[in-house]
Structures are given as structure tokens and as C-alpha cells.
Symmetry: C2
Subunit: 310 residues, 2 copies
């Protein structure tokens, strides 16, 4: 069992319109809805890879009910969301039929009370023994949750002896790294913000010195860069991938986590994460991955690097 | 008791953003939600005027549940919505903080099955005896409902001896008018589409010849034009009103209906409809009316016209 934490769960709604024009009225031709937030996306990919996953975080209001109803229909995913008074946020992606471009509208999400945050921490501690394989802490913090939240959740997992991956940004990442997570997975911008360096190789090394055991940096269409005590690698897809990058980072996290709990060597984990990420960019539905593309590309990802001296 | 029919109910969501830019990501600073669809808006204003109102139409899915939860908290409004399998639609109004302009995104709404349409017609017939005072048929038809739907509902109400107001457009209006409703309330564009004439005075008379007993045409900020067997009138607000016209037409319908069931003479009905409409345009929240403005303006609306020879 793997546990994913999404403190800022969402209902992700996609609208298709002919062409979005400010201050005009638009008829939406197609509406799709699915449970979202980064940890929920990671869980969906892990489940599709055959792993049992428990999802926790917060749920509230009518939108929270919809998120839970939809999660209940995803095989392999167990809902352990913690109820709160505020309403779960919606995100709306308005896709232009003409250009394929997306306009994003993100609701602020509920404010979590101190009592609700305490209840979550208790639930998390209770879930950890069952989620013996690994924990992923994903996404931004909702209002009301302290900025050091992830640092605390990292420490709790480490005390329980469970490997923990942290995928967030800004100050929550900075504080979380200091608590020594097993893996962080920033993109180049998030890594630059953390380390002050815009040179990914140097910044990846620097992030390890700040406390992360392993750092996997997403270089977008160019693949992944990884530094761990076992070595340093670069993983690249066979060709430059075009498409919608929504969810590509979450698929990479799922690839890394599944590789970790299956005890794969780092190059195999990185190949899986890169192929899943590329298969997500190429999928027709934002955030889904194309299994055919994934299986075809898995053997064609190039991983180069050096293993550390033991 | 007054009955309002909204076949295309909605949850009206308003988002505030700093400035909507296509293909960018936006943080929504404020979210407001309320039950919508024209007949629901009419019912809310009637209830605020002290009338008992029953709301019918369709409700379905998670959004329908939210609409019903919210309706339950409106004093004076009774929920008699008919359940369907499809999900009630959402409308999203994105308001620019900078310009105050609104971008509208309207979901298509559920398709109503023939069985569901039959169930609605039965429910409507059952509700009519209790709604002895008046019926309002409001808004567009959802997919699956036959284009002659309003014509049938007008006939049913007339057979029961209950006065019926029809507020729709296009072919449903054309067919509905032929069934001889007591009042129709088109705006100038809808009236021109119905009659082929862009001259409101002539078109209003023409619409009466097509079957409507009384025609009240909205001239936007310039007020209302009315033609009935009792006479012809023009009602104008004291000054040109600036603001958000959302819901102004629905407030006018509520003014006309409440005046009808209170047996007010036509000039008083028109003054009320005009003052309510202006008070809606001036209200800070779209679709609400400002009671202070309404009460102040009620006595200052100018109604000019001629009474027909008996």
C-alpha cells in the first residue's frame, strides 16, 4: 500500500468552448469532471500501474462529495480523506477548440481550521502503519495549514520508517527539505527558487545538501535529472514530446514511487517516470496517460549517468 | 400561491478575478453560488415581495442537489422540482475586478428523456390546482424537451383557468404565443424575431394578434412598453439606470405577476415591474434587487398611455 497526501484536493472541470473571448457569452460544448489535486492524480496513475493506494487530505461541501463519489469508482484507490467544514475547491480548464490553448480558473479552496489540521495529523499517523511501502506529499497548502506542515509530515513518516516523497514548491518545499525527505521532485523553476541557482545540475546537488536524500528534477520535454546517494543520472525520452503537460509531473512522481516500492534500481525508476510523463503529455485527455505510448517508450528512454563509489 | 416553471434550472456561479486573459492561469479571489434559471430568479423576487411561490422544473446530479439545498433556505419558496438522471447545468460568470466586465460560460445542461418529460407534465398538472393564482413559464428549453413544450403548458394552465405568463424566445415563444398565454414579456430582440418588425410599438401590437392577450416589451434602460385588451402604456424609470442588467427581466416578470395576482391595474403593475427591474440593475450583487432603490423609485416611475374603450 502507498499513501498519497493532497491537502488541496480539487474537482478538476474541463470546459470545451469554440474560442474564449473576454466579456462575451460562451456555450460550453463539453464538460468533463474528475477528482484532482496532485496527490489524487499520483494515486490514479499508481492504481493504473497495479498498486494499491490510499488517498488522504481534506474533503468538504458539495464539491467534496462529488470528489469522493468519483474516487469510489477508481479501482485500487481507497478514500481516506478527512472531512472539513469548508467546501473543496474546483478548478476550471477552459479549452479553446480552435487553438487547443487552455485558460485556467482556480478557486482558492477552503480555509482549514486548527482543529481540522489536528484531526488530519492524527488520521495521517493512524494511516502510516498500513501504508508501509511509501508516502507522497503533493501540492500546495490550503489557507489555514501552517507553512511548516510538510516538514512535520515528513518527520512523522521518517519516524515510522516509511520512505517519503515531497512534491511541492516555495516555502513549504524549503521547510520540508530541511526535514530530510527521501525524494523531492521539483521542476527547474521550483528548484531555482529553492537553491537560488538556475543551473539544474548544480541546483540538484545543492538541494541534496539542504536535506533531500534524492532530488529528481523535471526538465520538461527534455526528461529528468536525478541525484541520489547511489549516483547521478539523466533520463531523456526518445524524441521531444508535444501535447498537454498537465499531470506530467504527477505521472513522474507515480513512476518514481512505484519504482521505489518495487525496489527497482534508479535508472529503471527514472526510465519509468520519464516514459509515464511523456505518455501523459501525449494522451488526448489532460492528466491521463496513454498506456500504449508508455509501454512502447519505456524501453526507448535513454538513461545516462554515473553510479557513486560504494 | 404562484407557480414558476424553469425547465433549464442552473447553479449560477460567479468568480471574481483580477483580469481575465485567455490562455493564462487565474486565481479566483471570490466564489458565490446561487440557484438560477429564469423561473427560479422570478420566484426569489416574488418571495421577497411576500408571495408564496412553488418552483418546478428539473433537477439532477450533484449540482441539482446543491440547487435544492440552497432553495430550501429561501423563505417563501417551495421546491417542487422533478428529479432527472442528467446533471443540472452550471453557469459561470467571470467578473473582471479591473473593468467590472463579465465573461459568461454556460454548460449545455442535461438531456431530458421522453419519460422524464412525461413525468414533468404530470407533476405540473398536479401542481396547478394548488397554484391557483398564476403560472410563469420561463427560459429556454433543455435538450430533449419538444419545441412545442410551452404551448402545451400554456394550454394546460388555461384549461385549469389559471393565468399564465410566458417568458422565452425563438421557436418555443412562437409556438407558445399561438396557445394564447395571458402575458408574454419579450425584450426588443425577441419581439423582433417573433414578429419580423424592429419597431417595438408595431411589434407589440402584432404579437397580440398572434395570440398573446397582453404583451409587455422590455426596452432595456428605457423601461417597458405594454399592450393589453385594457389599453396601451409606456413605463419609464426616472433616470437612465446604470449597472448589471443580469436578472432585470426576471424582476420585471415578478413585478407583473405579483401585480396580476394582487389585481392591480395595469399602470401599477408596470410601475412595479419597472422599479424592480431598475433596482435589480443597481444592486451590487447580480440578479438581486436593492429594496431601498425599489421602494424609492416605485413612486417615481412615469407611466403614460391610453385606456381602451370598454
Amino acid at each position: 500500500m502507498i499513501l498519497t497526501v493532497t491537502l488541496n484536493t480539487a474537482l478538476d472541470i474541463t470546459y470545451r468552448v469554440r474560442s474564449l473571448r473576454p466579456h462575451a457569452s460562451h456555450r460550453v460544448s463539453e464538460v468533463t469532471e474528475r477528482p484532482g489535486g496532485k496527490g489524487v492524480n499520483v494515486a490514479r496513475v499508481l492504481a493504473a500501474l497495479g498498486h494499491e493506494v490510499t488517498v488522504t487530505g481534506f474533503t468538504g461541501g458539495a464539491t467534496g462529495r462529488v470528489v469522493q463519489e468519483r474516487l469510489a469508482s477508481v479501482p485500487g484507490v481507497v478514500d481516506a480523506l478527512v472531512p472539513i467544514t469548508g467546501a473543496t475547491r474546483r478548478t476550471i480548464a477552459v479549452v479553446d477548440d480552435r487553438s487547443g490553448d487552455t485558460t485556467q480558473l482556480n478557486e482558492p479552496g477552503p480555509t482549514v481550521t486548527p482543529t481540522e489540521w489536528s484531526a488530519f495529523q492524527e488520521a495521517y499517523e493512524d494511516l502510516l502503519p498500513a501504508a508501509a511501502a511509501a508516502v507522497a506529499l503533493c501540492g500546495s497548502l490550503p489557507p489555514g495549514v501552517p507553512v511548516g506542515a510538510y516538514a512535520g509530515l515528513v518527520r512523522t513518516a521518517r519516524s515510522a520508517g516509511i520512505p517519503v516523497l515531497l512534491d511541492t514548491s516555495g516555502e513549504p518545499l524549503r521547510r520540508g527539505v530541511a526535514a530530510r525527505p527521501d525524494i523531492i521532485k521539483p521542476n527547474a523553476d521550483e528548484l531555482a527558487e529553492l537553491t537560488g541557482s538556475h543551473e539544474p545540475l548544480r541546483a540538484t546537488q545543492d538541494a541534496r545538501r539542504r536535506g533531500a536524500r534524492a532530488v529528481v528534477t523535471s526538465l520538461g520535454a527534455e526528461g529528468l535529472l536525478a541525484a541520489s546517494p547511489e549516483g547521478r543520472w539523466r533520463a531523456a525520452p526518445p524524441t521531444l514530446v508535444r501535447g498537454n503537460p498537465t499531470g506530467a509531473g504527477d505521472s513522474a512522481v507515480a513512476g518514481l514511487l512505484s519504482g521505489l516500492v518495487e525496489h527497482l534500481p534508479w535508472p529503471d525508476r527514472l526510465a519509468r517516470a520519464t516514459a509515464l510523463s511523456a505518455a501523459t503529455v501525449q494522451a488526448p485527455v489532460a492528466g491521463e496517460f496513454d498506456r500504449g505510448v508508455y509501454e512502447e517508450w519505456l524501453g526507448r528512454v535513454t538513461v545516462t549517468g554515473e553510479v557513486s563509489a560504494a
